[in-house]
Symmetry: C2
Subunit: 351 residues, 2 copies
């Protein structure tokens, strides 16, 4: 990590403000975040006044900004956790890091504060190795390397597009799992990051992620919205859906996705049993979603993330649209998202 050279001007930290009082959150993150530009997007459903402490370089976006930029589109909804995608849209930086507002910095096994920005950027700057598994995890980490038998021709790797961090304390389980094991907390700090292999699908959690906006920005979008979606992570699947898309797209474009460190410490929030009463739908959907993404293939003509999202949206509509109207709506949102991305991207930086 000490080898990572970060150009602070290449990083935006995007925070979805689900809670109006961001003071405790931002004060906890001050040592890590204060040298970077922050984009805070206020959940358009929230009425309270945002409280943001002094001493940060921050731009705040609210419902009126969203309405102005997005205009009349009704397929894309930026409410709840999805508001952070508006930050992805208006950013002009190479890298985006996004952390949920119920997380605070974690400590590693030595008790040192985890620098989530430095580690995510290290993950994104070092190549990914999706074509062959390295048993000693990330071969580019200090003290590690490729093991015996790893082909030399694959050791240069590919660009890493997405870095998925993890969570200590309250892990990102679904409501049924958390309801079944109400006392379960994650205390295992696994000091590793690895490339998720080619064609291996994964559930991407939006809680603690970073990505190269220039290469996969258009593939991170709010498209799949549950009828009973709420303001707790286990009541959403928008990140899981987008994560399946982005993994398939990275596989197609020859890009890599990493999972592992950095950790954040996730505070407890919500009542899993209450969530379970109203939301069970997301859990069932995965049974349709996973086989679709395991079999979907993108055409050779799709050479950018935008192309891929457009083609993926078509396949979603054709193959999943008939299963549930929610998927047809997701396909529409994906198509509209690419249009929006292009129009906002081609407008002046000062949206």
């Amino acid at each position: 990590m000490s080898n990572t050279s970060i150009n602070n001007n290449e990083v935006d930290i995007v925070i979805a403000a689900i809670n109006s009082d961001l003071e405790p959150f931002m004060n906890e993150w001050r040592p890590v975040f204060s040298q970077f530009h922050l984009i805070i997007v206020k959940d358009p459903d929230m009425n309270g006044e945002l409280r943001i402490p002094e001493g940060f370089n921050v731009d705040v976006f609210t419902k009126s900004d969203i309405d102005r930029v997005v205009g009349s589109s009704t397929s894309i909804l930026f409410s709840g956790y999805s508001c952070r995608y508006f930050g992805y849209l208006v950013s002009r930086k190479k890298y985006i890091i996004s952390i949920d507002d119920d997380c605070i910095p974690a400590r590693d096994t030595n008790g040192d504060l985890v620098d989530v920005v430095a580690q995510h950027i290290a993950n994104l700057q070092a190549p990914a190795t999706p074509f062959f598994f390295n048993t000693l995890y990330d071969p580019y980490r200090k003290g590690a390397d490729f093991v015996r038998g790893y082909p030399f021709s694959l050791r240069s790797g590919v660009t890493c597009a997405l870095s998925c961090g993890l969570w200590l304390n309250l892990a990102d389980y679904d409501a049924p799992t958390q309801a079944l094991k109400p006392g379960q907390r994650n205390s295992r700090y696994v000091d590793a990051v690895m490339t998720v292999p080619l064609r291996s699908l994964m559930p991407v959690s939006g809680i603690n992620i970073a990505f190269n906006r220039e290469v996969v920005g258009p593939a991170l979008f709010p498209a799949l919205r549950l009828a009973g979606e709420g303001k707790l992570r286990w009541e959403t699947v928008e990140d899981i859906w987008s994560g399946m898309c982005v993994k398939v797209i990275c596989d197609h474009l020859g890009l890599g996705v990493k999972s592992g460190i950095p950790y954040v410490w996730r505070r407890e929030r919500g009542d899993a049993i209450e969530s379970l009463k109203k939301e069970w739908e997301g859990v069932k959907l995965m049974e349709e979603v996973v086989p679709f993404f395991q079999s979907v293939r993108l055409p050779q003509t799709a050479v950018t993330a935008e192309d891929c999202v457009v083609d993926m949206a078509k396949s979603v509509k054709e193959q999943l649209g008939k299963v549930d109207p929610m998927f047809a709506r997701a396909a529409d949102a994906m198509g509209d998202w690419v249009k929006l991305w292009k129009s906002v991207g081609s407008s002046s930086p000062g949206v």
Copy 2:
């Protein structure tokens, strides 16, 4: 790990004696190995008298046993590290654990001795999950679970056939890597074990492994022998080759392979630069081997590990045989191995 119930009668520990004095090795392992049956196979190239300390339940096999059982086969050579495969052949147990004789027990991050047997058996007894990636690693470990978005239909997993452990201190690098970084030692204890995803190939190291002999025993064999093969791990690829076969076979049969804990502490041995002078062939071979295994497909008629090895041998001969005669010899050895496995397996247990 505390949940693992081990039937000691189901486990054989197989040790290839490359060094004649096993006393220091076995005394280090006494707390872990003493309650299990050991099979020690003496490298047929070694002349010295084996030194084995008291207090172990051990059967020793030497060149004369190998000659008696294997008979006139000249395609399979049990010299050097390959002698341990003779132990796999004569074992009658469900699980085999094999550790190189230059390894001693490792300590975990708490300073506790790693029980390599208990952890390997825990890995083999808990299901594997090759069809979807779980970001919190092995979901069956105490304190872990499947994360949000993991399909419920895939949570029961499949039988784990192979558990690949790791190495602290001297890691299993190839000679060029170790020669380039002569001081490099692995000090990172990553407290995780995970299923290597479906269709993701990996370099299986024979230094510290365990497997379910009943389901994949026939797929672990000494087949690919380098012309310049020596008595140091980085001068061999027999385990890498067999590991590629076993991973493809596990994928075909719907079985799982895990990688991660348990660690062993690997002592320093050999001079990488000297090895590099005589052995560079193994490194180059992987450039041919990996694309072959990435594309090879087994027929639906192959429903056992034996079937799969026979079919794989045919493909090796057809597709790689013309590239290098070493591959044609490997294919012959694989065919002969299956015959040998069947004949030894059908003979009485007291070989």
